[in-house]
């Protein structure tokens, strides 16, 4: 067995992992703060891709389009939180599922009305490749890895170094005490939801150059995001990062060693974690 092949497959796996991490980060963050299991996360991911596509066609600069597009998704997220989500914080979980699932249907049909049913592709970005272990590593894998690490650093910085981040941590740790100290929960929940939607939009915009924008494009990746989030521990950002790495790498090595089993491996990992440690690797009971 060529060790270069396995090392190369590991790098590819890390790139795949970063893709999963980017999408799961917002999902787990939103849940950690608001305790809302947001199925519409995939819809925000889709909107991120479409907004980036459209802004790119107008502005011509991918990075600017990505940022503007994701921010717009964040605003839409905040709007959804104020208009709908904020009404169901006190209701049982099934209400969250129905409501956020309804949002998916609405956004998907809106996308179909505005952009049409035919999937759209953006001009390829980050083309070219590097030679690594004598194999071709595409630039977009490197770019996804960099983007994933940057998002991890951004989350770390925002949560540990900014005033807003400290408030978020306070209200997550002890909502009642935080309110007694004068924190505004409506504001914090809305902005937390906005930040989660922003991360979802960023994920959609980031994957656009390597795939395409299509109605319902978030359906598959959101399943992986849920697997990652549950394995890592619902609400744990560190857990999501680690479990995304696990899932990405076992998928890549699985494709290499046991191709017929590759797509089942993430589910097997999920089952194993649920059996052995139902709260997830970094989850709290």
């Amino acid at each position: 067995m060529d060790p270069g092949a396995i090392a190369f497959q590991l790098i590819i796996g890390i790139a795949t992992a970063m893709l999963y991490w980017i999408v799961s980060s917002g999902l787990t963050f939103t849940f950690g703060v608001t305790r809302i299991l947001n199925f519409a996360h995939g819809a925000f991911y889709m909107l991120g891709a479409y907004f980036t596509l459209t802004f790119f066609e107008v502005i011509g600069n991918y990075m600017v389009a990505l940022l503007v597009g994701s921010l717009l998704v964040g605003l839409i997220g905040a709007g959804c939180e104020r208009a709908f989500i904020s009404k169901i914080y006190h209701l049982p979980v099934p209400f969250q599922l129905v409501l956020t699932f309804g949002l998916i249907l609405i956004f998907e049909d809106m996308v179909r009305m505005v952009w049409g049913a035919v999937p759209r592709m953006m001009m390829a970005q980050f083309t070219g490749s590097l030679s690594v272990f004598g194999r071709t590593l595409p630039m977009f894998s490197i770019y996804i890895i960099i983007a994933g690490v940057l998002i991890a650093l951004l989350l770390y910085y925002v949560l540990s170094r900014t005033y807003w981040g400290m408030q978020i941590r306070a209200i997550t740790a002890d909502p009642e005490m935080a309110m007694c100290c004068g924190l505004n929960p409506s504001f914090l929940y809305a902005t937390a939801f906005m930040f989660g939607a922003f991360l979802a939009g960023l994920g959609g915009g980031l994957t656009l150059p390597i795939s395409s924008a299509a109605p319902g494009m978030g359906e598959n990746i959101i399943i992986y995001a849920f697997i990652v989030t549950v394995i890592g521990g619902l609400g744990s950002i560190k857990g999501a990062f680690i479990s995304a790495l696990i899932i990405g790498i076992i998928e890549a090595l699985g494709a290499f060693f046991v191709p017929w089993l590759a797509i089942a491996l993430p589910y097997i990992a999920l089952s194993a974690v649920l059996l052995l440690r139902p709260e997830g690797i970094f989850g709290e009971v």
């Binding site: 060529d2 497959q9 592709m121 359906e219 590759a262």
Partner: protein
């Protein structure tokens, strides 16, 4: 090389078949006053016309939501065009045609629910459509129970016609689209002519992928005993990142790729494969040893445009440039005029399905299912895709669709096909009792 190895007896047989085809086709062609879907009746139609009911209702089930929702739209363009043409010309013996569209959501249970609702609540007389192989197997099972005919316009698994119609005897199901024989067997006949000897697969992980790859390997092994099958990758439907699959396959140093990826997955796969150098790995003098049976799907061509490398071998369940007949030219033009897009393969099959229903009713003057089945078996349907023989045993429409190489032509909004290669359908469609994979020895 192998297609050249046909025995003299086979040659005579095919020549005879070809001659018979010409005779029938010529006869039909001669009798045509205007280019329109026609059928060759086995018996002279009953004289006299009476209106059977005010509205003939057709339920059209396809995928209208999710990432593959385009496929419903592509089908709808065909069936709606046919409906409007027919209604503008007076309907079916005075009856108006109405099509009710329903979303299968690519789920068997949902499609079955829609069939029941279309028949029981909407009073549909026929069901057409169905996109996915997984879905069609579920739907076929309920057709005898609802007692309506189903014309399948897209789903390709050979298990539908071989197992459910031929072996199990579900007579209510007919398929107008080419089965997976196009994706596996015909693909192997193309592959056999290429220099590649180390073939690898990148397929969607479900029925269609497995069936295509199995037939491809069986046929190609017979045609070219020197080839090896070195790697396979099974990606989930809706995969965003194909890189782990591409790198795994490339590690085995293939010089030929067989892939039945379609829809959005195909766009993602082609883009990522290009950047990882998978196309370069399978390049040969005359193009790429890259066979993608459903590559000439209109959505793929419109999305990928020049990004799909020139020289790859692709096909469809119909490709708009073939055959060059007055009827096909008229259909392509009408489709372009109405929708601003070239017809997709499932657009043609849906268009033909609606017209076939019209001709069937006019021919039999009834809505009786048993009479319809009897009339359809062994019927020849003259359609935009050419002459289709509806085989009696398995209710499969037998017609050929060519493969061609991608060519970027600035005169067209989408890539065109060059170097078209077609073969008589009888040579590569498995035949009852389906125990042998082509090339046939007996």
């Amino acid at each position: 090389m192998p297609p050249e190895e046909i025995s003299r007896r086979d040659f005579l047989k095919y020549t005879a078949a070809f001659g018979a085809g010409l005779l029938i086709g010529g006869g039909v062609g001669y009798s045509l006053k205007k280019p329109e879907v026609q059928v060759v009746p086995k018996e002279a139609p009953v004289v006299g016309e009476k209106k059977l009911k005010d509205t003939i209702k057709i339920g059209h089930i396809a995928i209208f939501s999710g990432p593959f929702g385009t496929y419903g739209e592509l089908q709808k363009r065909g069936s709606q065009l046919a409906m409007e043409e027919i209604n503008a010309a007076g309907g079916i013996m005075g009856s108006k045609v109405e099509i009710i569209y329903r979303d299968s959501a690519a789920k068997p249970a949902e499609a079955v629910k829609q069939v029941r609702s279309l028949v029981e609540n909407e009073g549909c007389d026929f069901i057409i459509g169905i996109d996915s192989s997984g879905v069609v197997l579920g739907v076929a099972e309920v057709m005898p129970e609802v007692n309506k005919l189903l014309f399948v316009t897209h789903a390709a698994t050979h298990r539908l016609t071989e197992d459910l119609v031929y072996k199990k005897g579900i007579k209510e199901v007919f398929r107008l689209a080419v089965p997976v024989y196009q994706d596996g067997i015909m693909a192997a006949f193309i592959a056999a002519q290429l220099p590649a000897t180390r073939w690898a697969a990148v397929h969607p992980d479900y029925e269609y992928g497995y069936a295509s790859w199995e037939l491809f390997q069986k046929t190609l092994s017979k045609l070219r005993p020197d080839v090896e099958f070195v790697a396979e990758a099974w990606a989930k439907i809706g995969t965003t990142d194909f890189t782990p699959y591409i790198s795994s396959v490339m590690e085995k140093k293939p010089d030929g790729i067989h892939t039945v990826e379609w829809g959005v997955d195909l766009f993602t796969f082609v883009r990522q494969a290009k950047q990882m150098g998978l196309f370069d790995a399978v390049k040969y003098d005359g193009g790429y040893a890259w066979i993608n049976p459903m590559g000439y799907s209109i959505d793929a061509m419109e999305a990928l445009k020049t990004e799909y490398p020139e020289g790859c071998w692709i096909s469809g369940r119909y490709v708009w440039p073939y055959p060059d007949t007055a009827l096909n030219r008229k259909f392509v033009k009408a489709h372009l005029d109405k929708w601003g897009h070239y017809p997709a393969y499932s657009g043609e099959t849906s268009y033909t399905a609606v017209y076939l229903i019209k001709k069937l009713i006019e021919l039999t003057q009834t809505l009786d299912i048993d009479t319809h089945i009897k009339a359809l078996e062994d019927m020849v349907v003259y359609s935009p895709a050419g002459a289709r023989l509806i085989r009696k045993e398995d209710h499969q429409a037998v017609y050929e669709v060519p493969y061609g190489q991608v060519k970027h032509d600035p005169n067209y909004p989408i890539p065109v096909l060059e170097n078209l290669k077609a073969m008589p359908a009888q040579m590569y469609y498995k035949k009852p009792p389906f125990d042998e994979v082509p090339p046939f020895t007996k």
